[in-house]
């Protein structure tokens, strides 16, 4: 049975290894799509609607077309069609400079007949609201109802009940490299696109379909990319437009979204509002759960969330709806549905525990079926110093009050079949590992090098890893669902093992040993039963001459495992005069299986915690009901965590088995509940609506006083 071997046998796997792309990234040499400069490059821009809902009455491109330096202008919407959200594409230009493209956009004349819009869930659900989707009555989807057990019987057994409404607003991805592409046609039938994407092969197949080309005549390159978080899978309108502009002009075209457009049309995490009534027995078991909730994913559906979450609830009824608004659509965002669901559930857990007069951690121990989290509760509580918590919420003295909270999460991350890879050993001793995955900042490039180097007794820096290019025709899936490492690592390992086997077969006769008796380490192949018989790596490979060894691999499911649990503890300090919340410390205990690279694993846990912190305390998309526009489509008013918000983070790599699992998403889940519960523990009032901003704290404190 295939295995990654014991920890004691691993020279590289599980150690802390700086990423291979580090030097290029700190020196500015790393080229992102945004940095690609091609001979004859043109700059593309898109004119977008400032209006949320309107009919297109007239579109006149002639003035823009006549401008010096403008090479192409393309309509992106037909006259007579309806605009359904701010930011929707109207037309695109390609020009000699970006400034000329900007000017040209302003010379496009579009006449719009404004229609009544709705941009907030409340407005959309109001009686007599404008109907913005023909297929949904009252701008709402049919409810999705699920029932298990008998909630009425459950509530009869309940000793305490809580009824509350929890809300999380829309969050946007804020990829620092905006969505964009550089498209270049070699001739009429061969297209190369540098794409800022999480899915090189997905973009290839989409564009090949769009232009009706054989897939291998479209090449997608993503050497480095500046963040996706779930929003960068297809080429999007902007990608197809870049390719169309390049085709129309016969020149390469770079088209990157503006920061504003990135907020408006490049995806977001849907909102969630849930009204929940729940009951628990006197001995601390959640016994009944009744939830009605909705969220908006823009004009589309997709506003799902997890409810109930993680904890065992025997009797439950849930009812979910999507609400349509005239705003850009949602896209998958880091653990879709989980953080918002976890926030509501972990808040509810604490409210039930408080009514029972129980320590919320003890309440979780009773209701959490996960053995892994049970162990994590112990570890995390110790690390944060749970005994220091206020036994009575809000009982601290002074203006600045401290409190502690806990939250939980779960995820899959077990990977899937479908990755092809190639490991090549060349005569000069160099080794290449090639596959069509992409490094979206998680460090898969380095993980591949570590796996190959471990197998071949070399160093990670000896391995040339080629990812982010569809050219070699070795497909791999998109980097979503925390699936990349668990999808790619088994294939790379088996490919490296197969290549090693071939090399051993080659040198076994001259070492007068059987292939089974050979090992490789420290750039040397040696015979296990007679350590005096050795051959240096380069001498062994030198005999290959023109015949490189090239082997593929297979996805051996024994090498990976899905399903992870996570727990986080937060300590916060709330200034009761200003309402400001400062997170002091987060302890993140993250189940993760075999961490190929412990250093980059810790980075991902830190990153998840910080994104969760942003959602808990800072981030919210503001829509203006009157004008239908987003009020904070920038980085000043849309707040993401900066240096001042960063607490001490203790990221604990909780590796309970030696199979590979992805953890890109799960560490962002438990943070929200942990922080919200810590705020309650600090000041004795509960904020049920994220983000927990100073105004909400001050109002809640004032209401408590009154």
């Amino acid at each position: 049975m295939a295995s990654w071997g014991e920890a004691s046998e691993s020279r590289l796997i599980g150690k802390r290894i700086p990423r291979l792309s580090g030097k290029d990234k700190v020196t500015g040499k790393a080229k992102y799509t945004f940095d690609i400069n091609r001979p004859g490059l043109l700059y593309g821009r898109i004119l977008r609607s400032e209006v949320a809902r309107a009919n297109v009455v007239d579109l006149d491109l002639s003035e823009a077309e006549a401008m010096p330096g403008v090479k192409a202008v393309l309509p992106l919407i037909e006259v007579g069609r309806q605009i359904r959200y701010q930011g929707q594409e109207i037309a695109a230009v390609a020009a000699e400079t970006d400034d000329i493209a900007k000017d040209a956009i302003r010379r496009i004349r579009v006449e719009l007949e404004e229609l009544p819009h709705v941009v907030t869930e409340e407005d959309a659900m109001r009686e007599n609201a404008p109907q913005i989707r023909d297929d949904w009555a009252g701008n709402q989807s049919e409810p999705n109802v699920r029932e298990e057990g008998d909630i009425n019987a459950g509530f009869e057994q309940a000793a305490v009940e809580v009824e509350a409404t929890y809300h999380t607003p829309v969050q946007t991805h804020v990829c620092l490299e905006t969505h964009g592409n550089v498209a270049e046609w070699e001739d009429d039938e061969n297209l190369t696109v540098w794409a800022s994407t999480q899915g090189v092969f997905g973009v290839r197949n989409d564009l090949a379909g769009h232009f009706n080309l054989p897939a291998n005549q479209v090449r997608i390159i993503t050497e480095h990319m500046g963040g996706g978080f779930g929003s960068k899978f297809g080429p999007g309108v902007e990608g197809r437009t870049a390719a169309n502009l390049a085709r129309a002009t016969g020149r390469p075209v770079k088209l990157m979204l503006t920061r504003k457009a990135e907020h408006l049309v490049a995806g977001n995490r849907p909102s969630m509002t849930q009204h929940v009534r729940a009951g628990a027995t006197g001995d601390g078991r959640i016994i009944a759960y009744d939830m009605k909730g909705y969220g908006t994913g823009g004009i589309s559906s997709g506003a799902g969330f997890q409810a109930p979450y993680v904890y065992h609830v025997p009797n439950r009824r849930t009812e979910r709806r999507n609400v349509a608004v005239n705003v850009g659509n949602q896209r998958a965002m880091r653990a879709p549905g989980h953080p918002q669901g976890a926030f509501a559930m972990d808040s509810l857990m604490d409210e039930l525990a408080e009514k029972l007069g129980m320590n919320p951690l003890e309440f979780r121990r009773i209701n959490d079926p996960s053995e892994v989290r049970q162990a994590q509760y112990t570890l995390g509580a110790q690390e944060i110093g749970w005994h220091r918590r206020n036994s009575v919420p809000g009982s601290g003295t002074g203006v600045k009050k401290r409190g502690m909270g806990v939250g939980s999460g779960q995820w899959g991350g077990g990977g899937g079949d479908g990755t092809q890879a190639r490991v090549t050993i060349n005569a000069d001793g160099t080794v290449e590992a090639v596959t069509g995955t992409q490094d979206i900042g998680t460090g898969i490039r380095t993980a591949i090098a570590i796996i190959v180097a471990e197998e071949l007794g070399l160093n990670p820096t000896d391995i040339m890893v080629k990812v982010g290019d569809s050219g070699p025709g070795l497909p791999s899936g998109g980097s979503g669902g925390s699936q990349t490492t668990a999808s790619v690592a088994p294939v790379i390992k088996t490919a490296a093992a197969a290549a090693k086997q071939k090399l051993f077969e080659r040198v076994a006769p001259q070492l007068e040993a059987s292939v089974e008796d050979l090992r490789v380490g420290n750039h040397t192949i040696y015979v296990v039963s007679d350590r005096t018989k050795t051959i240096k790596w380069e001498l062994a490979t030198g005999q290959l001459g023109m015949e490189s060894i090239t082997e593929g691999g297979e996805w051996d499911r024994e090498l990976r495992q899905g399903g992870v649990a996570g727990t986080q503890f937060a300590e916060v300090e709330v200034d009761t005069e200003t309402g400001a919340v400062r997170v002091i410390k987060i302890v993140a205990v993250q189940d993760c299986g075999l961490a190929i690279n412990r250093l980059t694993t810790e980075s991902q846990i830190n990153g998840g915690v910080i994104m969760g912190l942003g959602q808990a305390l800072l981030e919210e998309r503001f829509m203006d009901a009157q004008t239908g526009r987003m009020l904070n489509a920038n980085l000043e008013d849309y707040k993401v965590p900066g240096t001042f918000e960063i607490p001490e983070i203790k990221s604990i790599v909780f590796d309970t088995h030696r199979k590979v699992t992805g953890i890109g998403e799960p560490p962002c889940i438990p943070t929200l509940g942990a922080i919200a519960n810590a705020v309650h523990n600090a000041i004795g009032v509960r904020i049920r609506e994220l983000p927990i901003t100073p105004d909400k704290i001050l109002i809640a404190l004032a209401e408590k006083k009154a």
Binding site: V26, T27, N37, A54, R106, T643
Partner: protein, 211 residues
Amino acid sequence: MPDKEKKQGTNISRRNFLKGVGTGTVAATVAPSVLIGSEKAADAQTGDAVASATIQLNINGKPYQVEVEARTTLLTVLRDGIDTSGTNIDLTGAKLICDRGECGGCTVMVDGKTVYACMMLAMDAEGTQITTVEGLADGDNLHPVQDAFVQHDALMCGFCTPGFVVSSAALLSENTKPTLEEIKVGLSGNTCRCGTYPFIFDAVKTASKKM
């Protein structure tokens, strides 16, 4: 001399400039029937913008001569500028991320001080010494900040990294032994979305030991 030349700069901050040209588009879309990009707005915008001049810039110790418009930012020149000899400047380390001086992705040093290159007009950079992230290393020898960033994994996607590296180097050139709080203040003008901050703080501390 550089000081004198600086005072003779355009004296137009980009923010004011934008404020001046942006009104036409905003007003146009309030009416029920909407015209985006009226002729008047376009004229107002292009009127000032097309004035151009050839300027000399000193970037990472090398002289460049570029033709720029009044509105051209230093960042545009670094990334997309073409020297009058025909070579692309192609210093793409500094990134355009927020486009309004909020995120620090375009941070470079001008006469040793950090500047948001997206907020500085190229003409105002004449007569200064500009250092970009590409100019920090001494050949193959990384600047201590760069080396520490790699060792501590103070980067993930890496898009914000050049800005953080330049800000960190500038911080350590003024304060060789910053406390954690001073590091947070020193880097408060930079934003990361992947959440690399904890390891960035570690990296700056490590680098400070080598300064």
